[in-house]
Amino acid sequence: MRRRVFLIAGIVLVALVVGIALVSLFWTPFPAADTTGGRLEGPGAHHLLGTDKLGRDLLTRLMIGARIAVAVGLGAVALGAVVGGVAGLLAGFANRWLDDTLAALLDILIAFPTLLLAMLVVAARGASLGSAIVAIGLAMSAIVARLTRVLVKRVLAMDYVTLARTSGVSWPRIVTAHVLPNIWPTMAVNLALQFGLAVLAEASLSYLGLGPPPPNASWGRLLQEAQSTVLTAPIGAIAPGVLLVVLVVGVNLLADGLRDVADPTRRGHR
């Protein structure tokens, strides 16, 4: 039952941020580029959360930041799932030699710090939302691939799969009928966790100035911009920080709850 509470809390927190992101597509309190506010106005009736140095509405920028965070999370997870999933499946089905090679490559890729990899991608492609998604998605794909490989191998070692293989069932059929249904619950939980990591990675990149270029209002950039004004206008640093925590904690609770609901190996442990 306690687990169910986590799941619901997770859904609520994530829905809150995703809701903000969706609303920002249609409506924000002010236009994104509006600089008519005063310098570092405090929270008030006109600007609910106050303004930044340039007089831009903080709430507007936070809403756009939510959009960027969700977009990067979804984009990176999609890229990581496709690239990592395919690589993991291949390695799982491959002969010994190819499997060892792929595994070694994945280990090397995993040993690379995500931020270092991201810097390489940004250096090659220039700083943009797309670069951030590609960089984080690529780093993630190595982790996803390694997990997929292990899960696939476990399924392939099952007796009924061996039976299917010896009775001549085709590879694609084995993948769709036996492998995917068995591995997706664990994959889903892992991808949800990776979503949280991707959001944090994007915030770090933006904080370092390697994320989407200004005037994009990524939360990491908001934190960076608020750093110099933290003594006079602390809300500028607190608000994006809190939202970042809400989203990442929400996603983690959601993943935790999902695992108990979806993972067949854990059913009955409740």
Partner: protein, 504 residues
């Protein structure tokens, strides 16, 4: 999986609270009880500019100018904190009627820290060192062509120029006179100044102590330690906890509140020579059209921008010449903020619906914030700005060397640098033959009045042509403990004379 989750949460929380913790130190220095200055007290200076090496002709950077200029090394002339040039190691100089031959008489009794007496050979060596092919001196290109340097006797130096140069004496104030026997000076020193080098811990601090056998008035303190920081908040905290007595250049106006309200500190608003430019590439469309440049200049509210970045500090400029340069005229009224006028100019120039351009933006503060402001201002007149964030290295190669850009943001730190508009090959590519001629004539002028007159004309022309958009002039903010007095407040060209500081 459990472990990973905890680490994840930890990271998120840490990101959120780390900033809030920054600079939250509320402690302050207690006001000094003793009124009298202690001639042996050591002044602790906090700076963001660590030297790369100890030689200003080998790429030592602005940090070594700050620590050594006037303190360890001296020139034939000195640029004072209020911008005047006065004799230092030279006691007298005469100029020939054709303005090409300068004769300097050296001061008596000057000794290098190694004990050797100063002679004309050292002066010749020092000037040649700045002009050598491998010299990385920032001032190298400002020097006129020198035909010969003669040393008729140990106290006399005669320099013959190929062309007249009214700025020659001024430029000599940047030439450190070094011992010609000293060899490589990138990790040691041998100057004539009021301090000697006592130690240099790379990445941390540089210590100077009083020179007991200085030729002039001894320093009013026992020594100076320059402490180097890479983070402004850490530097502010060092000042709040008495680890340093003075911050040479405060870069964050929002950190000042903790000092202005505290009687133990004094915040000094001096003059800087650092200008922030929106530099157009005047060679390429659409900025080869003067109307477009004027329109962009008038469409940006510089006053609001300055206020956004610097609060109540800094000042507006209408051209490349800051108020401390002798040929300053107030040109802030030229191409002043006027959105309707900007739209009309754009229509005249054939861009009634605006256009799109890429703004190459250095990735460090304040450029990205300024770029966002410029983008939102120009959107109001229909111009779309694509912000392209680049590193300082990329800026140097792409913009400065290859001139492969449409517009860029950049800070220009030197004084008297309006003369760059006389060079059509400079990165911004401003090419007005009349201005080029005026600036050339100014350099060869017979008197300072004539030079000033010509440079004023050139300055007014570049402003009228909107050769660049000069957004604002940085403030120079020195924050010091009230125990200190006698420190420089203008920091011209990042020099910081420490010998007159009293610490009580």
């Amino acid at each position: 999986m459990k472990k990973q989750r905890i680490a994840l949460l930890g990271a998120a929380v840490a990101t959120a609270v780390a900033l809030a913790a920054c600079g939250s130190n509320s402690g302050g220095a207690s006001p000094s009880s003793s009124a009298a200055a202690d001639a042996n007290a050591v002044v602790q200076v906090g700076s963001l500019y660590e030297p790369q090496n100890l030689d200003n002709t080998a790429g030592g950077g602005q940090g070594i100018t700050e620590a050594f200029n006037g303190n360890v090394y001296e020139g034939l002339f000195r640029l004072t904190d209020d911008g005047k040039v006065e004799p230092l190691l030279a006691t007298a100089n005469t100029v020939s009627a054709d303005g090409l031959t300068y004769t300097f008489t050296l001061r008596d009794g000057v000794k290098f820290h190694s004990g050797k007496a100063l002679t004309s050979a050292d002066v010749k060596y020092s000037i040649e060192k700045v002009l050598a092919p491998d010299s990385k001196s920032a001032r190298k290109s400002s020097f006129p062509e020198i035909k010969s340097i003669a040393t008729p006797d140990p106290k006399t130096v005669t320099v013959t120029l190929a062309t007249r140069s009214i700025s020659f004496i001024y430029n000599l104030s940047y030439v450190w006179i070094v011992n010609d026997q000293a060899g490589n000076l990138s990790a040691k020193e041998d100057g004539t100044g009021p301090y000697t080098l006592d130690g240099w811990k790379r990445g941390s601090s540089l210590t100077l102590k009083k020179n007991p056998s200085y030729w002039g008035t001894a320093a009013t303190n026992g020594g100076v330690v320059f402490h180097y920081f890479t983070d402004g908040s850490a530097l502010d905290n060092a000042l709040l906890t008495n680890a340093v007595d003075v911050v040479t250049s405060e870069q964050n106006p929002d950190a000042l509140a903790q000092f202005t309200d505290n009687p133990a500190y004094k915040v000094n608003d001096g003059h800087s020579t650092t200008k922030l430019l929106l530099a157009f590439n005047d060679r390429v469309a659409p900025f080869n059209d003067v109307k477009v440049r004027k329109a962009v200049s008038s469409a940006i509210d510089d006053k609001k921008l300055l206020q956004s970045i610097w609060g109540d500090h800094g000042e507006l400029i209408g051209s490349m010449v800051p108020p401390t340069d002798p040929w300053h005229t107030d040109l802030t009224g030229v191409n002043a903020y006027d959105v309707a006028g900007a739209k009309a100019l754009l229509a005249e120039a054939g861009h009634p619906n605006g256009f799109t351009f890429t703004l190459d933006t250095p990735n460090y503060d304040p450029h990205p914030t300024v770029a966002a402001f410029v983008k939102s201002e120009l959107a109001k007149v229909g111009i779309t700005v694509n912000i392209n964030v680049i590193t300082p290295d990329q800026w140097y190669t792409k913009v400065y060397q290859n001139k492969d850009f449409t517009a860029t943001l950049q800070e220009h730190v030197n004084d008297r640098d309006v003369v760059w508009y006389g060079d059509p090959n400079f990165y911004w590519g401003y090419d007005n033959p009349q201005v080029t001629a005026w600036i050339k004539q100014a350099e060869q002028a017979g008197s300072e009045a004539e030079q000033t007159e010509l440079l004023k004309k050139a300055d007014q022309q570049i402003a009228a042509d909107a050769a660049s958009d000069w957004l604002y002039l940085y403030p120079q903010i020195v924050v010091a403990s009230t125990k200190l007095s006698g420190y420089p407040v203008n920091g011209l060209n990042s020099q910081f004379y420490a010998y007159g500081i009293h610490k009580g």
